[in-house]
């Protein structure tokens, strides 16, 4: 069972974690929508240090509005940025629809 489903509003955790992290800084604290569940993978953040990376974690494709990410974004309000984010980096956005 995965914690989130396509269509869910999620926020990328604004956590600081040292070392190898696969969540880009520009997405931290940003809210987007789960586009799809990509499968379950061993955590690259542990594999990088020779650990097993287990248990496998769900990986989501999350879509963000570009205008929510960057001030003064040049382009259409419908332009999107998609990134692949592991479940441990996501939390439910309780704010509901924006």
């Amino acid at each position: 069972m995965t914690a989130f489903r396509p269509g869910d509003r999620v926020r990328v955790r604004a956590a600081e974690k040292p070392g190898h992290v696969r969540t880009p800084g520009y997405l931290k604290g940003k809210t987007g929508e789960v586009e799809s569940v990509l499968g379950e993978f061993r955590s690259p953040e542990d594999l990088a240090y020779g650990l097993s990376g287990e248990p496998e974690r769900p990986l989501y494709k999350v879509g963000f509005r570009q205008t929510d990410l960057w001030g003064g974004y040049e382009g259409s309000a419908s332009d999107r940025l998609y990134a692949d984010v592991y479940e441990q980096w996501l939390e439910r956005d309780e704010g509901g629809a924006r």
Binding site: P44, E74, S78
Partner: protein, 205 residues
């Protein structure tokens, strides 16, 4: 050379300090028995056997065969296998389709993730800090610099390959190519159009 830093000459080429470091690591890995020289050579041969031509063949087949297109979009590894391209391995592949409504662009902001098992090594600019930082923030400006501007009203979708999935773009078939066969179509598909910074060549080029 007498300007304060060493130069290494191999033939006429200067070898960078990074290349020296890699060779030293490689020699150590072989010495410690982690890898063998033939394994390294096999790996190099594998990577050299991959090229954007593979992507062009996949795209051209998808343009002429709707069932193959469905397979390419739903199970990229299986589609590659049908054309004799071995894309097996731990990473997943997702092909994103350009449509009259959406134009897709691929980047890896964290490093240089790229569908290597299909397309081989990425171009140098793909790995540059400039491309990686600007493709997410100002994709339209980046595409303009590659000579491409999405038509009015088209949504730009940027895919940041941050994890275990590698992305490739399925560009739209150019107009005026209705009479072309698969091989001729494949020649229109450029590496850059598979990344999404531009679109395939037009028929009349």
């Amino acid at each position: 050379m007498s300007h304060g830093h060493p130069h290494y000459e191999a033939g006429r080429q200067t070898i960078s300090p990074y290349a020296h470091r890699i060779r030293a690591i490689e020699a150590l890995l072989v010495e410690r028995g982690v890898l063998t020289e033939p394994e390294i050579q096999d790996r190099i041969a594998y990577m050299e056997s991959r090229s954007p031509e593979n992507g062009a063949r996949l795209v051209a087949r998808a343009w002429v065969d709707p069932e193959f297109k469905e397979l390419l979009l739903s199970d990229t590894k299986a589609a590659a296998r049908e054309l004799g391209i071995d894309a097996s391995g731990p990473v997943e592949f997702v092909v994103v389709e350009n449509t009259p409504e959406v134009h897709n662009l691929i980047v890896c902001t964290l490093c240089s993730c790229y569908p290597r098992a299909i397309l081989g090594r990425p171009p140098d600019w793909y790995k540059s800090f400039e491309y990686r930082s600007r493709a997410v923030r100002e994709p339209r400006a980046v595409m303009r610099e590659f000579g491409f501007e999405p038509p009015e009203g088209v949504e730009v979708a940027v895919h940041d390959s941050t994890a275990d999935v590698r992305y490739m773009v399925l560009p739209m078939r150019p107009p005026g190519t209705e009479d072309m066969g698969e091989e001729e179509l494949a020649r229109l598909v450029t590496r850059d159009s598979l990344i999404g910074v531009s679109v395939p060549r037009y028929a009349e080029d």
